[in-house]
């Protein structure tokens, strides 16, 4: 099994190498990077490219490690017991397998996405050490140990909101998705909008990179914002000339709301544009 990017996902050399290392050595792969650089998408694309089932586990601040293994649905059992349902005698009816259990029991190798692990409680990664290392865990209620039939490829994403414990990091491979350069970006855009006129594309990318250079922006526009913006430009049928008019009155790119997500940023940008206009006139 080797991953080398897909029709809809441009993976630079360093990223494919990291993915292939994780596949070959069967270690979890930890992915970090600016928001919007395609961290979550990676797991989906890898699963798609390799033809493996994908199990997704989206982490919230209230998520517990146990929920990824299994949950004991005590409330259902309580209700059944009050109603005298005969199912209540067998506890197995109330054990709900979590994402990792499903992946471990899967008949084929699989891909598991643990999305935004940094959102969870600070102890969360520590609670998964053994599970990720040995790919097995013990179900106390059923008195049995669940072992992975095939070690799944585990992709973990993080937005760096919390520091992950060393013991956890030791078990992972790590890749930081850098903000792509102009060339890679052009490939990314081409993959998503093959019909987009070259000229419009070039102008749009120029505007986009100029915008990223504006000092003091709170949230710099990233790839997903660029793609949204291009979609809008296409839908609105904006001619390339409109983007080129840098020096004239239209120093603000059309539909800039798709690129700048923050009120202060838009104000800042408009102010800068205004100053640029005054200087030119």
């Amino acid at each position: 099994m080797r991953f080398s990017g897909t029709d809809t996902y441009v993976a630079p050399r360093d990223l494919t190498l990291a993915v292939n290392a994780a596949i070959a050595l069967q270690r979890p792969l930890l992915i970090k990077g600016e928001p919007g650089t395609g961290k979550t998408l990676l797991a989906e694309e890898v699963a798609g490219a390799l033809g493996l089932p994908l199990f997704q586990w989206h982490i919230k601040s209230t998520t517990k490690a146990q929920q990824g293994l299994y949950e004991y649905d005590a409330v259902s059992r309580l209700r059944d017991s009050q109603l005298g349902d005969p199912r209540v005698a067998d506890i197995a009816h109330y054990i709900v397998p979590g994402v990792l259990w499903q992946a471990f029991e899967c008949a084929t190798p699989s891909v598991v996405l643990i999305d935004e692990i940094d959102k969870a409680d600070i102890e969360f990664p520590n609670d998964l050490l053994r599970e990720l290392d040995r790919m097995e865990f013990h179900c106390y209620e059923l008195q049995k140990t669940i072992r992975a039939r095939h070690r799944p490829l585990i992709v973990i994403t993080s937005n760096n909101e919390k520091e992950l414990p060393d013991a956890f990091l030791r078990r992972c491979f790590f890749h930081y998705i850098k903000f792509p350069d102009r060339e890679t970006r052009q490939r990314i855009v081409a993959v998503h909008f093959p019909t987009l006129k070259q000229e419009l594309l070039r102008e749009a990318l120029e505007v986009f990179f100029d915008l990223r250079e504006v000092p003091g922006l709170k949230k710099k526009p990233s790839t997903s914002e660029l793609i949204d913006w291009l979609k809008l430009l296409l839908a609105e049928d904006i001619p390339p000339e409109a983007l080129r008019a840098k020096d004239a009155r239209d120093a603000i790119p059309p539909l800039h709301g798709a690129l700048l997500k923050n009120e202060q940023d838009i104000h800042l940008f408009e102010r800068l544009a205004f100053m640029a206009r005054r200087k030119n006139s």
Binding site: R13, D14, L17, A18, N20, A21, A24, L25, R27, L30, K32, A74, L78, S81, Q82, N160, E161, K162, E163, D166, L169, R170, C172, F173, F174, H175, Y176, K178, D181, R182, E183, P215
Partner: protein, 394 residues
């Protein structure tokens, strides 16, 4: 195999463990990459480095090891990009500012361009740049970020050798200044959760246990919600030499405000004496007695000073040393009093740690609060401070 490389990384303070070295060897044995230094670099980085803030250090260590580049003194220092922006003037450190004053902006720009041109030559094969780097007015310049960018422009022949030489990850290094969000993350280390207030959250485990004990009849258990119970007193130095650090202090303050529910802040100038104030505009009308504070806030508060501790040494040692008024008791006495009232103390200093030894008042203050309680106001320093405060010793 590769043990020397491994030890070299260790020596360059990249946290690697034997387990990871074995993983790397395993990968090589699995023929994951061909005999190609670029691929090896990427592979080694993926397997050995677990934090993007170490990427830059790794790039340097890798370059040194595989090219035998001697370590240049002062390579870690940096010409801030902001130099070229007048607005950012106040971020510059003392030394950088002096350099700035000696050269006009155009001149700096010109020199910078020269330097960049030379650096390009170096990439072309020569190493003249290394030879001249030491004597230039950018003495502590070394590699500069802008130069790196120029080197990278020729995207066509982009090889990984350049990738590590570009040091593209330097601004992810945790030694550099911080943004609000990063500060919040660092401050979060100090969180201590406690359950207080009304019991309005369902305690599922308690309910199940209680119900089981009850023989199956529902026995609901409730408990109070978890709150961050850390209480912080923040003493901020304002005015004078602190003007250079306004922005970073503002960021710290706004992050702390968002992070701690029990946060009380007070301002002082240079040293804490009889009075502090809450509102800087009305500092002379609405002063608070420091003794009252000591009596108001309990020992469970954590005391954090933010200040450059840069002042005349008399301010610390002698009564009447204050620049603003006649203080009956010396700054040291007041510091001792504060530390005795709130034993959990940290002092965050925006001045670069390397310059501390040149300022007598910094040494004096460190003597008062304990040497290991002053931390630089960088992300790394903040984390160290929070870790220290969160530890049992406080």
């Amino acid at each position: 195999m590769l043990v020397d490389f491994f030890l070299h990384l260790k020596a360059r303070q990249i946290p690697v463990s034997t387990q990871e070295l074995l993983a790397l060897l395993e990968a090589l044995q699995a023929r994951l990459v061909g005999p190609d230094i670029d691929d090896f670099y990427l592979l080694a980085r993926t397997l050995l480095v677990k934090d993007e803030s170490h990427y830059d250090r790794f790039d340097r260590a890798f370059g040194e090891y595989f090219k035998g580049i001697e370590q240049l003194p002062g390579l870690d220092a940096e010409i801030p990009e902001d130099w070229l922006r007048l607005a950012a003037r106040r971020h510059l450190s003392e030394e950088e500012r002096k350099t700035l004053e000696q050269l006009s902006y155009e001149k700096i720009f010109e020199r910078l361009r020269e330097r960049l041109a030379e650096q390009k030559e170096r990439h072309a094969g020569g190493n003249k740049w290394i030879g001249t780097g030491g004597t230039s007015p950018f003495g502590h310049g070394g590699y500069n970020p802008a130069g790196v960018r120029i080197g990278g422009d020729s995207a066509g022949n982009r090889t990984a050798i350049k990738v590590w030489e570009q040091r593209a990850y330097r601004n992810l290094d945790d030694q550099v200044e911080l943004g609000t969000r990063n500060i919040k993350v660092a401050l979060r280390r100090l969180r201590r959760f406690a359950r207080q207030g009304a019991a309005n959250e369902l305690d599922l485990d308690g309910t199940i246990a209680g119900t089981a004990r009850n023989g199956g009849w529902l026995d609901l258990h409730l408990r109070p919600e978890r709150h961050n119970a850390v209480k912080v007193l923040l003493f901020l130095d304002v005015g004078g030499s602190m003007d250079d650090h306004i922005q970073v202090c503002e960021e710290l303050f706004s992050a702390a405000r968002a992070e701690f529910k029990h946060l009380e802040h007070f301002y002082f100038h240079n040293g804490v004496y009889e009075h502090v104030w809450r509102d800087n505009r009305r500092r002379h009308d609405e002063r608070l007695s420091t003794l009252d504070l000591i009596h108001t806030y309990g020992r469970d508060y954590t005391l954090i000073f933010v200040g450059d501790a840069t002042m005349s040494p008399y301010e610390v040692d002698h009564p009447g040393g204050s620049v603003e008024h006649w203080n009956e008791e010396s700054g040291a006495v007041w510091l001792q009093r504060l530390v005795a009232a709130w034993p959990r103390v940290a002092w965050l200093n925006p001045v670069n740690e390397e310059y501390w030894q040149y300022t007598p008042s910094i040494a004096a203050i460190r003597r008062q609060i304990g040497d290991e309680r002053m931390f630089p106001l960088t992300l790394d320093g903040l984390e160290r401070a929070m870790r220290r405060l969160a530890s049992a010793r406080g």
